[in-house]
Amino acid sequence: MDGADPAWRPSASVELIRLRSAVLGRLRAWFGDRGILEVDTPVLSRAGASDPHLENISAELGGRAYFLHTSPESAMKRLLAGGSGDIFQVCHVFRAGEQGRKHNPEFTMLEWYRLGQRLEDMMADVESLTSDLCSISKPLPSFRKTSYRDLMRGITGVDPFTAAVPELINALDSHGVVSPTGHPPERDELLDLLLATVVEPALDPEQPVFVYHFPASQAALARVLPGDPPLAERFELFFGGMEIANGFYELTDADEQGRRFDHELKRRAADNRHVPPRDDALLAALRAGLPDCSGVALGLDRLLMYLAGINDIRDVLTFDFSRA
């Protein structure tokens, strides 16, 4: 990007703006062919994301704080509980502080839910859809699958389920990654750092790979498969050197979801961070009955980066954050 450009100018070229339009048209056709309903949910919410790894952006209306959604998940699950059947949505989501080569504080997410589907089915969905979208200009080979444990062990040599903190620090160090200073690091944080700085760059960018069965501590809103170790029924799709999509076999147990929310909110308070109101509307929807379902969130901007062979997210956005 030319830094001398006047700030009114779009960040993306006209060619990439056209590519985005083509992708949007094509994905709507894909969902339409399967009878999956397009929905449009509010961006502002009374509840904020409780996930300690997300930072909400708030807006004030009538003396009351509202939050720009970090994902449409809550509203879409309320629709599912309300009887919508299979749904999809393309929308902007907002996350404070996320800015970098692969991050913009506001980005475009494609999210969809299907009733009665398990992770395997959703991986098939993701492969079918992304292969279709990428066939526009950069066809993908058939996708690979690996468990989180095998992937981490294969690339870093450490077992993510059993390695202690010093072992993880050593593994990072041997790949030239300095561990965070200041606070005593937690296992999950070091695993996150390993994944983002060692594993992701080691993956073949041209080979899509599903990674499934994350540690239960990284379940977010996914169900946990009991066992030793317990496994999160969650997958991520990587290609183009990036995480492109994330899928859950959705947690439908209101009590368990309530416990996770409370745990996360407590953690935020302990870390001296902003504690948003709990998402009680979602808990009420789960109590009323969320049908058995799986859901996927896919980063459309990153998919465009892959399609266009571009390695800075700003180049696929009409106006990146610095021009917002």
Partner: protein
Amino acid sequence: MASYSTNEFRSGLKILIDGDPFIIVENEFVKPGKGQAFNRVRIRNLKTGRVVDKTYKSGESVEAADVMDTEMQYLYSDGEFWHFMVPDTFEQYAADSNAVVDAKNWLKEQDHCQITLWNNVPLTVTPPNFVELKIVETDPGVRGDTAQGGVKPATLETGAVVKVPLFVEEGEVIRVDTRTGEYVSRVKD
């Protein structure tokens, strides 16, 4: 005390770590989808020049270093300190020998230099990229040898010794690139 959140990290930002001022050379934001975000930074110690890598959990704060670059005019040296003045305000600053260690060979009175102030005390002095200095001592020139690549040492009025072409004479003024310490050209009056 002012501080910066990792959200504000960008190259050029000056931060204080363990009592030393550092400048951010590179900043990379990394975050796995559902996990902890980090800022990986490459920073340079402004006192020692050493470059180190650090990783911060995003959202952490780091103390700001009160470091500022100011253009000043070099006045004189009293042997212990090198004295500079801000042209607009006539404010004067004294730099010690540590601050001028790389610059002192190129400092000519009246020249404008960049002074990096830390807590309002000169930390480093950067001379102009090009300076014009008089040769006070060099072997006699070799007539007619203007095309050959031969060089000889020449001592300049500041005490610096640079390699100059054989045809350059004592008493002449030459232009030197202070970043490389190399002769550029003769300066004709």
